[in-house]
Symmetry: C2
Subunit: 312 residues, 2 copies
């Protein structure tokens, strides 16, 4: 078998998209994780030889690493016990950031394995393995980061359990601003803070906005997208975990973004704009707003990534 | 001014569509209400001269009648205090049935007035007057019946307060079955029975189904529509108001409908199918199921009405 290494890339993602908690996410063009890997003889299974950029925090044990699990579950499915894969993981984004770091590694891991074996499965068929990989990181089986990281675009997941996922059109001109404040909140804390109940009125409002967002994306109606990018359920509860969140949001809205909310479980904050200039201006304004709260941050500006994980 | 009478028709509608409580509805081709009306001299304002088919239950007082209010509010907007309109209302569907009877009359009322004045407003501009008309019937300002009755098709209302409404494509072949059991429940009771709170998990499930339904309608993906036509919040609470509801639902599902739930506030039950035969078979099966509970019913089979209120 060939020992030639290949390299794959899987992008950062923004889950929830304001009104689509647990059901919706989109992919950025940058940043993202990279994995270099190769087939190896006489060493069955998936082996992680090195991880760079994680400051020693991630496990190299295959079954305790999102990329390792995703690739190994894929190999188990293929069912040839002789196949061996070695990989080095290059973490190029922070984890615990709300940018889908563990999902990107999982997507890259299974993408790598599928490419090394000359694509026995189509990309969307890799979803269950990637989701199982990400599950190692936070215990939940949900695809709102994994799906866009693997498939690209904006993805709506009707049902996470059955992985009933659907690509939704992204209108040309849609740009994302992602601001990562250099603080850390745990996904678990971010989930534990949420109330188990919501009012019927909140549910109707959230439903209305979610439907409006999907229709707005299909129609390319930026005004409708703008009216719909509101989260009346999750954001009000999680905002307290991010110092200065509302100042950052106001700063973004003053730059004419379509909407601004928490990216995934936070602490990153995202905005969507209908052109790159608004997206860039919002990035500067949001960073300044965090700075007033003595918080350093990193800004990413990106079109919606339409490819997802790629051979690189 | 001309005294020639004209006749308008506005159709019955199914609100909620399972997962779209308060936000979504569609129009049937039949049944519907008819109004005949004419301009009159020296008698300013809207006058209801007769109502047929209501068994004397509806008020002929303009401001206590949905059609009267809708037409009068339109006249107030036009602002010519000399205009007089006489109308006779032909109720051709039961009220308190969950078929949008009061909304159809409101839609027909304002449609009539606009047509008599040679269409000073476009159809969608008539919405606020029609919604204000329907409000007389049940106090709530919501458009999930009025919008499809006036505009036709499937309508999603992002926000009822601002009437942010949007037509959603109906795939060819989509047929509705509507079964009206001859029992009466009050919209008020049907609202009062609902809990003010829902669980976060239910909200996510409902959000997923609503998004799935909208995407399924846009894509013409009947399998996705079928998976999405589920109501985990409202139907379980209201089913108890309709004797035999679950037997009726099972009977429909056994005829391969896409989904079956309560029409509006009930007691009518609707199903959607991807062809007319399934819709007809479901109608028979649902009627038999009600009959086993000693309840007579009327069955309506219809394509999705794409026109809404029309000059007739």
């Amino acid at each position: 078998m060939s020992k030639t290494g290949i390299k794959v890339f899987a992008p950062a993602t923004v889950a929830n998209m304001a009104c689509g908690y647990d059901l919706m996410g989109f992919a950025l063009e940058r940043p993202g994780d990279e994995i270099i890997g190769r087939l190896v003889d006489n060493k069955p299974g998936v082996h992680i030889t090195n991880i760079y950029g994680d400051k020693g925090k991630l496990s190299k044990e295959t079954m305790q690493n999102t990329a390792g699990v995703a690739a190994q579950k894929f190999l188990d499915h293929i069912g040839d016990p002789s196949i061996g894969i070695e990989m080095e993981i290059y973490k190029k984004m922070p984890f615990g950031s709300g940018m889908g770091s563990s999902a990107a590694s999982a997507a890259a891991g299974v993408m790598l394995a599928n490419e090394l074996l000359k694509r026995p499965l189509r990309k969307q068929e890799l979803m269950p393995f990637a989701v199982a990989g990400e599950q190692v990181a936070d215990g939940a089986y949900h695809a709102d980061n994994v799906a866009p990281s693997l498939l690209g675009g904006i993805v709506f997941i009707r049902d996470n359990e059955t992985l009933d996922f659907h690509r939704v059109s992204a209108p040309p001109g849609l740009y994302a601003t992602l601001v990562h404040p250099h603080i850390r909140i745990l996904t678990k804390d971010s989930r534990d803070i949420l109330s188990d109940t919501v009012t019927l009125k909140q549910t109707i409002t959230q439903n209305g906005n979610l439907g409006g967002l999907i229709i707005g994306l299909y129609k390319g109606d930026f005004d409708l997208i703008k009216r719909s990018l509101q989260d009346v359920i999750i954001e009000p509860q999680r905002a307290q975990l991010i110092p200065g969140f509302y100042d950052v949001k106001v700063a973004a809205l003053q730059e004419n973004v379509l909407g601004c909310s928490i990216s995934g479980a936070g602490p990153s904050v995202f905005a969507l704009s209908n052109n790159n200039l608004n997206a860039e201006n919002a990035g500067h304004a949001m960073q300044r707003a965090f700075a007033k709260h003595k918080i350093e941050s990193t800004v990413y500006i990106s079109k919606i990534n339409s490819e997802g994980a790629i051979l690189y």
